[in-house]
């Protein structure tokens, strides 16, 4: 084994170009790595080996014929809520067992066009509802750094497979932190793009106004490469923006200077109850950025404290409607009843897990007549205030630095019976989804128990280039991202 699975997209692309390895070699190495460690990690739900190898072979042939597509021959793991034609798409829910997607999500089509090998489908919290991947009905995923710990969520499988070198890169989705938080917990890089940057067509919706698909990778540069492939206007998604996609990867200079750049530090983001090791790592990271030439200024996001309340009203309201389609009539699980209403009730009672039910009930409640104004409408107004906070802050700085989570990855089962406690962990990530701007998470240290700590770099809307630049400079001058878990 040539350990190709341990390499990055950019390293493998160089090797493929110089002919020192083939895509089939890479896929074989990754499959061997999965065989070796996924029994412990549990990142994957399904893998079609033959199909992956056939795609790799086709990529090698294309390269032999002169193709230089950006992701040519690179295997990518897919979060199980993205539709890939002919494959299951369970969202880790029993209600979608047996469903075979009849079409490709736009990002899947883009990956194919870019030459990527679709490797397999990775675990997640059911319908992306959760922060630990413990709400998965069809698999159990552990943190590769310590198998007793959660990988984070909801894109827990996407982060764990990259951290465990069971994939070169993966796709996740981020509704309230679902890419950034597992990236932080597993010590990899994750980007939540600006709302509208990446088409949502084919992404099984959790909360339509918050969901974005993004990359999880081993380095910032790899995220830039993958993000560039994913972005772009799609006429199938009315919320996707008609805007040119910058050459994210090419524009990442090798320079490590942050001179002339103003980075904001929001005082509200260093909340009471934050793990001191997390706070220290992030403050060290801020100092490091300062040493690279950045000017650090204080900014204020006064309404961030309402983000959790607003998020859990808007996200659940949208989810209550988005998940109504899973009714047993057209696809997936069905438990018959004497009439359609009974069929719905029985199917949904058996098909959905308790967290999904909790959120559907919450969302249904906040939209109900008599409550709508007090909850949903009010939440929308506060959402505007949260967005205005960022607008104000970005008048003063180019990017904002913060922790991703208040604590490193906690133990499996530690919070799973206390949903409210788990909801509060989203406090630092949800404001970005509510405001619609972009952010990335990258490794900036380790807790004394060995669990990774993440740094969040928040950018203004459509300023992915800025956060990638800061992240890249940080990464080039630190070693955190080079550490791998021992499995």
């Amino acid at each position: 084994m040539a350990d190709l699975h341990k390499l990055t997209i950019s390293e493998l692309t160089e090797q493929l170009a110089s002919g020192t390895c083939t895509s089939v070699d890479i896929v074989n190495d990754v499959l061997a790595s999965i065989d070796a460690t996924d029994g412990k990690v549990g990142a994957y739900l399904t893998i079609d080996r033959e199909d992956a190898l056939a795609q790799a072979k086709a990529a090698d042939e294309a390269r032999a014929a002169g193709s230089q597509l950006p992701m040519l021959g690179i295997p990518v793991a897919i979060k199980d809520l993205l539709n890939v034609k002919g494959q299951p798409c369970t969202c880790s829910s029993k209600i979608l067992e047996g469903y075979i997607a009849p079409y490709d999500a736009t990002v899947i089509a883009k990956l194919r066009e870019a030459g990527a090998v679709l490797l397999g489908r990775v675990n997640m919290d059911e319908f992306a509802m959760g922060s630990s991947t413990e709400n998965a009905a069809l698999g159990k995923t552990s943190n590769p750094w310590n198998l007793d710990h959660v990988p984070g969520g909801s894109s827990g499988g996407s982060a764990a497979c990259v951290a465990a070198d069971e994939a070169i890169a993966s796709l996740g989705s981020d509704t309230g932190g679902s890419i950034r938080q597992p990236a932080a917990f597993c010590g990899c890089v994750g980007v939540k793009p600006t709302y509208g940057r990446v088409s949502r067509y084919g992404l099984t919706a959790f909360a339509s106004s918050l969901d974005q698909i993004g990359p999880l990778t081993k380095t910032v540069k790899d995220s830039a490469i993958l993000l560039e492939v994913l972005c772009g206007h799609d006429k199938m998604d009315s919320s996707s923006i008609e805007m040119d996609v910058p050459a994210f990867a090419k524009n990442l200079s090798n320079g490590t200077s942050l001179a002339g750049m103003k980075l904001g530090l929001p005082k509200e983001y260093f909340v009471v109850g934050m793990d001191p090791e997390v706070e220290q790592s992030v403050r060290d990271a801020v100092e490091h950025c300062k040493s690279l030439g950045a000017e650090i200024i204080d900014v204020s996001l006064p309404n961030a404290k309402y983000a959790i309340a607003v998020y859990y009203i808007i996200a659940t309201a949208e989810a209550s409607a988005n998940l109504a389609r899973f009714d047993g009539i057209r696809y997936g699980m069905r438990i018959d009843g004497k009439d359609p209403i009974e069929l719905y009730g029985k199917t949904r009672a058996a098909g959905f897990g308790s967290e999904v039910k909790r959120r559907i009930i919450l969302g249904t409640y906040v939209l109900s007549s008599g409550y709508y104004d007090a909850y949903y409408l009010r939440a929308q107004k506060v959402r505007t205030l949260i967005r205005d906070d960022f607008t104000e802050a970005f008048k003063q700085c180019d990017a904002i630095l913060s922790p991703v989570t208040p604590t490193p990855a906690y133990k499996l089962g530690e919070k799973s019976d206390d949903p409210l406690k788990m909801y509060l962990d989203d406090i630092l990530t949800t404001p970005i989804n509510l405001a619609g701007n972009c952010a990335l998470s990258l490794p900036c240290g380790f807790a004394s128990n060995g669990m990774p700590i993440g740094l969040q770099i928040i950018g203004d809307a459509f300023q992915e280039e800025t956060i990638l630049k800061v992240g890249h400079a940080f990464e080039q001058t630190t070693e955190w991202h080079k550490k791998r878990p021992s499995l």
Binding site: L81, D237, S239, E318, S320, A324, R325, I329
Partner: protein, 474 residues
């Protein structure tokens, strides 16, 4: 005590778009079930709606034709309810910001001109079609997601006659504007009717009863009349009307309770996050306005004023747009409006109805009718022969002149032929001859008929009359 009814209508009209409201599936009535479907209209995971701009154009045009104000900013909402006819279990519609606001329809009801006002028109998507069979329900999603407008009137009508006149006017305007075919049998036009009754003089409206989803004018009339009687009797007997949703059973001629207020759906409307608000530019609206066809009422007035047609003729010709358009095409080739009108109202409508056809299918083109009329006016053929030519072309096609020749329909004004037929008629009918000579001038008409018969309609009636008089008066 006297009572009065208050009636309002919510009329659903399926627009004439090639594709569905939020996906590119084809709209086709009567196709094999579930062939015009895709991930979007089947509510598959991850599928997203994309707005059909043609539907927006048609809805705005409908609004313009009905005198609405076009909302410069309108938005989409989700209406949540669980039923197999709605794949997503929510309907995309417009709740608080519809595309069209206000509006009115002026129409004659039992000899009186009345204006009925509209509250709004909003755009939404249609449901699938459910068919219930023994032990199962079948769902056809071909109709799911097709473009549907809801035209909401104010509670401004007071009788079934008002409601029917209103609906007929809306239907005519929608057909005229090319918005919808409004084929009620195909479900392209359906109405929910709100009926309440109150004592005359009472300010506030009585409890509202909604009768759901009727497509036939006859049923709507029956349902309204039944409901007014039912509510009036209830109030008179000291009871009170319950606010509820009712259905109409045409077999029994009765309405029946479907859902009471307590069990009313809470649709939990909220803004549709998958679609952007609709903002139609002023220039676009002007463009659409310039494309609107002339409506029946002004057209009718124009036929009377400019073409000198009787009111009755103008009404019949403008009743549907295809007929009026056909009439106007004929008028490009003739000045004889009354003759064109007579042919359309007479031969054309008779033959179309006998053969269950529509005017666009007629082999008699407007140009050919104009030619027939020109031949009549030039006395080349008689009016009767003209009708024969019309029918021959209608059935077989062909050119008027060729048919006249083939059938020998040219009028005979030639004296020698007329002379023979006139002598024969006089010789064979001594009684009318005697009566005429005795001073009964009308008796000559019988002889005239005999000559026309002998000539098989080809004789020139003027010439025949002249010749008969000449012979008898001599």
């Amino acid at each position: 005590m006297k009572y009065e009814a208050t009636i309002g209508l919510e009329t659903h009209v399926m627009q004439k778009t090639n594709t569905k409201m939020f996906c590119s599936c084809k709209c086709e009535y009567g196709a094999e079930p579930n062939i015009h479907v895709c991930p979007v209209c089947l509510g598959y995971p991850g599928a997203l709606p994309v707005m059909n701009e043609k539907a927006i154009e048609l809805c705005c045009k409908a609004g313009m034709l009905l005198g609405c104000e076009i909302n410069p900013y309108s938005k989409w909402d989700r209406k949540n309810y669980f039923y197999p006819d709605m794949a997503k279990n929510y309907q995309i519609t417009q709740a608080d910001e519809p595309l069209c606001l206000g509006g009115q329809v002026t129409v004659e009801v039992e000899g009186e001109m009345k204006t009925f006002t509209l509250e709004r028109i909003h755009q939404e998507e249609n449901a699938a079609k459910n068919t219930h069979i023994a032990g199962a329900s079948l769902v056809d999603y071909n109709r799911a997601g097709t473009a549907l407008m809801e035209i909401v009137s104010n509670p401004c009508m007071s009788s079934a006659a008002d409601a029917l006149a209103y609906m007929a006017a809306v239907k005519q305007i929608m057909q005229y504007g090319g918005i919808s075919n409004c084929d009620q049998e195909k479900g392209q036009m359906r109405s929910d009717v709100n009926v309440s009754v109150r004592p005359v003089g009472q300010k506030e409206l009585g409890s509202k009863v909604e009768i759901k989803n009727m497509n036939s004018f006859a049923f709507i009339k029956e349902a309204i009349e039944y409901e007014i009687d039912r509510q009036t009797a209830l109030i008179e007997s000291g009871g009170s009307v319950v606010q509820e949703t009712r259905g109409y059973d045409p077999d029994r001629g009765e309405t029946f309770t479907q859902r009471t207020k307590e069990n009313a759906h809470d649709y939990r409307y909220f803004p549709e996050p998958d679609l952007m608000p609709v903002k139609v530019a002023a220039e676009q609206l002007e463009q659409w306005r310039s494309e609107l066809p002339e409506m029946p009422a002004p057209r009718r007035d124009r036929y009377v004023a400019e073409l000198g047609l009787p009111e009755y003729d103008a009404g019949v010709l403008t009743a549907d747009k295809a007929t009026a358009d056909w009439f106007e095409r004929a008028m490009l080739h003739t000045k004889n409006a009354k003759a064109v009108s007579n042919f359309i109202m007479g031969e054309m409508m008779r033959l179309l109805s006998e053969q269950d056809m529509i005017i666009s299918e007629s082999k008699v083109t407007p140009e050919k009718l104009a030619e027939i009329i020109a031949l009549i006016d030039a006395k080349t053929i008689s009016t009767g022969a003209g009708k024969q030519v019309f029918e021959a072309i209608f059935n077989e096609g062909g050119e008027p002149k060729a048919i006249i020749e083939a059938k020998g329909l040219a009028q005979v004004s030639d004296d020698s032929a007329l002379d023979g037929w006139a002598d024969e008629a006089i010789a064979n009918n001594p009684k009318p001859v005697e009566e005429y000579k005795a001073g009964n001038a009308a008796s000559i008409n019988f002889l005239m008929g005999q000559v026309m018969k002998a000539s098989r309609g080809k004789a020139n009636p003027g010439a025949v009359m002249q010749m008969l008089k000449q012979k008898l008066d001599a």
